[in-house]
């Protein structure tokens, strides 16, 4: 489904990605692991079009998307979360959920003279499914960090998608929400979603992932089944410092 071909990226003199190649298969969960600074989030940003690579290509469903703008990539069906939640602090939960529904909101004239009736039930159901116990009119600035993280995941899933990219979905949340998110991801695996995940919890990666790719200093040092990768000497040295 997604092919990363010889991607290279430098920031100033620092080589963040030194030529990565790998494939994300459809209906599989692929985990991207590696120590901090390995280039995982940079790769996410390159796939999503937020960062342009210096060299290489990103092929999504046999189309080269390397130079496409981020919104076009998102509309092709690549839906992502961010490590640091990116929501709109002065807008409400309802505004967020409406935004992921479709792109009809992009039309100026269509929107200013039509008063679409609110269909609260549909959105309240989303909140219930994701365990967000707040009303639709709650402003993002009034949500806890965990609730924001949950809302971001809910939006990523509600948005029409073919590939989910989740950047440390449980980072910074309490144990209860962590467990909720992990259960949700296991459910998504059962539903055959295609997921590319960055996570530091190796036990969870072992449980969830079908395929693991280990990065270190911008290069793929090992890939394969979770058992194979997590026992690999290079991975242990780089990632676990053993």
């Amino acid at each position: 489904m997604l092919e990363i071909k010889n991607i290279k990226k430098s920031f100033g003199g620092v080589k963040a990605i030194k030529g990565s190649d790998f494939i994300i298969e459809k209906n599989k969960v692929t985990a991207l692991i590696g120590p901090n600074g390995a280039g995982k989030t940079t790769l996410f940003d390159i796939i999503a079009g937020l960062t342009r690579p210096d060299e290489g290509h990103i092929i999504f469903e046999e189309k080269d998307i390397t130079k496409k703008e981020p919104h076009k990539i998102a509309n092709l069906g690549i839906s992502r979360t961010f490590q640091q939640v990116r929501l709109f602090k002065n807008l409400t939960i309802l505004d967020h959920l409406q935004m992921v529904e479709d792109n009809k909101d992009m039309g100026l004239l269509k929107n200013i003279f039509t008063n679409k009736k609110r269909s609260d039930k549909k959105y309240e159901q989303v909140l219930e499914n994701f365990g967000i116990k707040r009303t639709l009119d709650t402003y993002i600035s009034d949500l806890s960090y965990g609730q924001r993280k949950l809302l971001q995941i809910a939006m990523t899933l509600e948005k029409s998608h073919k590939l989910l990219m989740l950047d440390e979905p449980v980072a910074g949340v309490n144990k209860v929400i962590q467990s909720d998110i992990e259960n949700l991801l296991l459910k998504l695996k059962e539903e055959n979603e295609t997921i590319l995940l960055i996570d530091h919890d190796m036990e969870f990666v072992r449980k969830l992932a079908d395929h693991v790719i280990a990065l270190d200093a911008g290069v793929v040092i090992c890939e394969g089944t979770p058992d194979k990768v997590l026992k690999n000497k290079k991975v242990l040295e780089a990632y676990l410092g053993e």
Binding site: H71, L87, K89, N90, L91
Partner: protein, 290 residues
């Protein structure tokens, strides 16, 4: 005599309320710190004055002033589409200077520093707006229509997108929203209504010259927006009344005429400092100044 003075102040307040509300679309709702807004006001004023001098009916000239200003809004947005923060502000400030320099130096078209005099009062399908009272009614109707349209825009799903771009442009892109298109449209809407305000101003004062649209005048418009509050239309309107109305009260204080001008500037500054110190979001603002 006194009522004529109040009507004059009221017309100026109405025109500046339109300017402030339109600036709020760019700054408060879309998050584009446009320091060149006064240029759109000037473009609208010159467009309308020149067209009516060439026998174009006023209503056509009024619309053309908005359209022409929004074309420049598109141009400015295109040029600055990849800029943000301080860089964007500086670029828009530069745009204000360029437009001012063109008004000053393209003498064949604008008559340069001499300005354009004798701009006729509007005649709208036989309603000849000769007196200040009738002009106040006309300007108020136009302002009400503009505020209604902007209200509909900012309260719509489209308006929420503009706010999303302001709060987190990258987050909006990740949801599949074309933020460049939204920024361009935000600036064009803002410029359109500033152009209309320019037309109203030109035909009210009957004389325009480049000094009216010098970049320093943006301070008054920004003061109105900040005191009223970012992303608040009601705030911009009420603030226009306070910021422009209050200093006029000085005329009734026994002060030498040479002091009234500087005192007025001091009042702007004091109101702005007090608001920033005690109510940083402004009177009705929804969002923080960042």
């Amino acid at each position: 005599m006194l009522s004529a003075f109040f009507i004059h102040i009221a017309v100026i307040i109405v025109i500046y309320a339109i300017l402030a509300v339109s600036l709020n679309v760019a700054v408060g709702y879309t998050g584009l710190l446009n320091l060149g807004h006064i240029a759109f006001f000037g473009i609208g004023a010159y467009t309308s004055a020149l067209l009516t001098k060439n026998d174009v009916p006023y209503i056509m000239a009024l619309l053309a002033s908005g359209i022409f200003a929004s074309v420049f809004g598109w141009l400015l947005a295109k040029i600055t589409s990849r800029l943000k923060g301080d860089y964007l502000s500086l670029a828009t400030l530069g745009f204000g200077f360029v437009v001012y320099a063109v008004m000053l130096n393209w003498s064949k078209l604008t008559r340069g520093p001499l300005g354009i005099a004798g701009i006729e009062k509007p005649n709208i399908f036989g309603w000849y707006l000769k007196g200040s009272g009738s002009y106040l009614i006309f300007a108020s109707i136009i302002a009400a229509i503009i505020i209604f349209i902007i209200y509909k825009i900012v309260k719509s799903r489209y308006g929420r997108l503009l706010e999303a771009v302001r709060d987190d442009a990258i987050g909006a892109q990740a949801l599949g929203k074309n933020i460049y298109k939204l920024k361009i449209q935000g600036l064009m809407i803002s410029a359109f209504f500033a152009g209309i305000a320019g037309s109203l101003y030109a035909h009210y004062i009957s004389y325009i010259d480049p000094s009216t649209f010098f970049i320093s005048d943006i301070i008054v418009i920004f003061t109105i927006v900040i005191v009223g509050g970012l992303a608040s239309l009601r705030g911009s309107v009420i603030s226009a009344i306070i910021i422009l109305g209050l200093p006029e009260m000085l005329r009734f204080v026994d002060l030498p005429s040479s002091m009234i001008g500087p005192m007025r500037q001091m009042m702007f500054a004091v109101i702005l400092i007090l608001i920033l110190m005690f109510k940083p979001r402004g009177l009705f603002g929804k969002i923080d100044l960042e």
